[in-house]
Amino acid sequence: MTVENQTKESSRVSTLDRADDESARLLVVDDDKGMRETLADILEMEGYEVDAVGEASAARELVARQFYHLALIDLRLPGVDGLDLLTQIKGTSPDTIVMVVTGHASLESSVDAINLGAEGYILKPIDIPGARSSIGRALEKQRLVFENRRLLEELRGMNVRLEQNNMELQQEIAGRKSLQAQLVESEKMLGIYQLAAGVTHEIANPLTTVMGRTQLLLRKAKELDLPREVVDSLEIIQYEAARTVDTLDNLSLYSRSRVDKYGPCNVNVAIERTLSLFGHELDDNDILLTLDLSPELPEMAANESQLMRAFAAIIRNASQAMPGGGELTIETRSKKGEVHIAFRDTGVGIPEDIRSRVFEPFFTTRDPGRGTGVGLSEAYKIVKDHGGSIGVESSEGKGTTIRISLSLEASDSTLS
């Protein structure tokens, strides 16, 4: 083999060996100065970075400081067993390839070396081309191991991401399912309320008549001393009518005693009182509160405690729409016999498809168990009870504004 050929071959090996620009770092450990420098020169010519040392202690230091792709160790070092050094290097840097160089065809120690993790051995006197290709092959094998490891790592990463995506998808599906269930539920409840109210109204008058007439007949029957069977039958009718009344009462899902007091009320004061109920809650949630309350707001006839409930529902809703904090602005204005109130948040916003439903009873986008869903519907009911109007504007990802208008004089719309 000519020198030229050797160079070609070695350059091929070295390009194959290092896919990237980084060249392999090699460590030569040999107490024979001439030997290690020659080896170092030859290997440097191959394009490797080479450190050459004569003592085991120096080798250990270097290995502890930086990574060597490959170490060539003379098995016969003064005062040290080359096999010990091999073990130490492998212990410090398991990925470093160790090849032992031995002056004797000492098969026994070569086998020992391989058992201790050496990649192979090179016999002195060194056959340069053979050694070069052994080194090249070992480095190539190492590169493949590294590459393989990197790919495995990547695969593992992709698996983890896939699992995460999968989990997110499952959560999304579960979320949608529960939202759907809530929609069905709130629709059902609404239907039940309407049905109950309708049934109650249709049956109430005739039932009153039945009970009244029975009562009158009972009295007459007793007065006229009619036979026992007549009185018994009338008493049964009376009893059954009373049972029907109980059933109707159970159908009435709302309390019957919900009669609250109206009085003079300043909306600004009601807002400030509502906010005082929240204490530090907004602060704690990193919500910056801005109050822009008109000093010209006149007093109006309203049920202050009910208004406060409505405001609290809206503020709580805004707060929940800003889990990572945000800004809440509350504004009041007086205009043409009306008081206008706006609650503006910088929260997640309400998707367009459910925007029209946020005021419905039992409608909620929160996880089951994290809210009854009466929040905004309660606000709606209270504002309507006051003859006012309430509306929502929202932009997904930007925020939501709830606007309320209350008439200074009780509007006739409450009577219709």
Binding site: A197, T200, T208, Y254, R256, N303, K384, A410, L415
Partner: protein, 128 residues
């Protein structure tokens, strides 16, 4: 026998009006019936009543409007509203307009008679 009262019943349900009337008559009270708000206003013009039993939901003039009208004609009218609805937007309005209370249908006649006795003898109770 307790002191008789004069009661005006205002309800568009005829069967109920007559039954209520018979029950009250049976107790010795004087009763008039109006089948609408308009009729109630006309009767009220001619006659004085200790108590008005007023349905909230009626075709034409509703109970609250009728109440307002009666209030304008004579001050301090005692009106007991009647409704089948557990929650009725108009009830709060009626109470603001001076109704003395609400009786829910179907009416418990025993309770109703007690309430009538109370409101016609006491000045301003909150009823039922």
């Amino acid at each position: 026998m307790e002191r008789p009262f004069s009661v005006l019943i205002v309800d568009d349900d005829e069967g109920m009006c007559e039954t209520l009337a018979d029950v009250l008559l049976d107790k010795g009270h004087e009763v008039a019936i109006a089948k609408s708000g308009e009729e109630a206003v006309q009767l009220f013009r001619r006659q004085q009543f200790d108590l008005v039993l007023m349905d909230v939901k009626m075709p034409g003039m509703n109970g609250v409007d009728t109440l307002k009208c009666l209030n304008q004609m004579k001050g301090n009218v005692k009106v007991l509203m009647m409704t089948a609805y557990a929650v009725d937007d108009r009830l709060e309005e009626a109470l603001r307009e001076g109704a003395i209370g609400v009786a829910y249908k179907p009416l418990d006649l025993g309770d109703l008679l007690n309430t009538i006795r109370k409101v016609t003898t006491e000045p301003r109770p909150v009823a039922v």
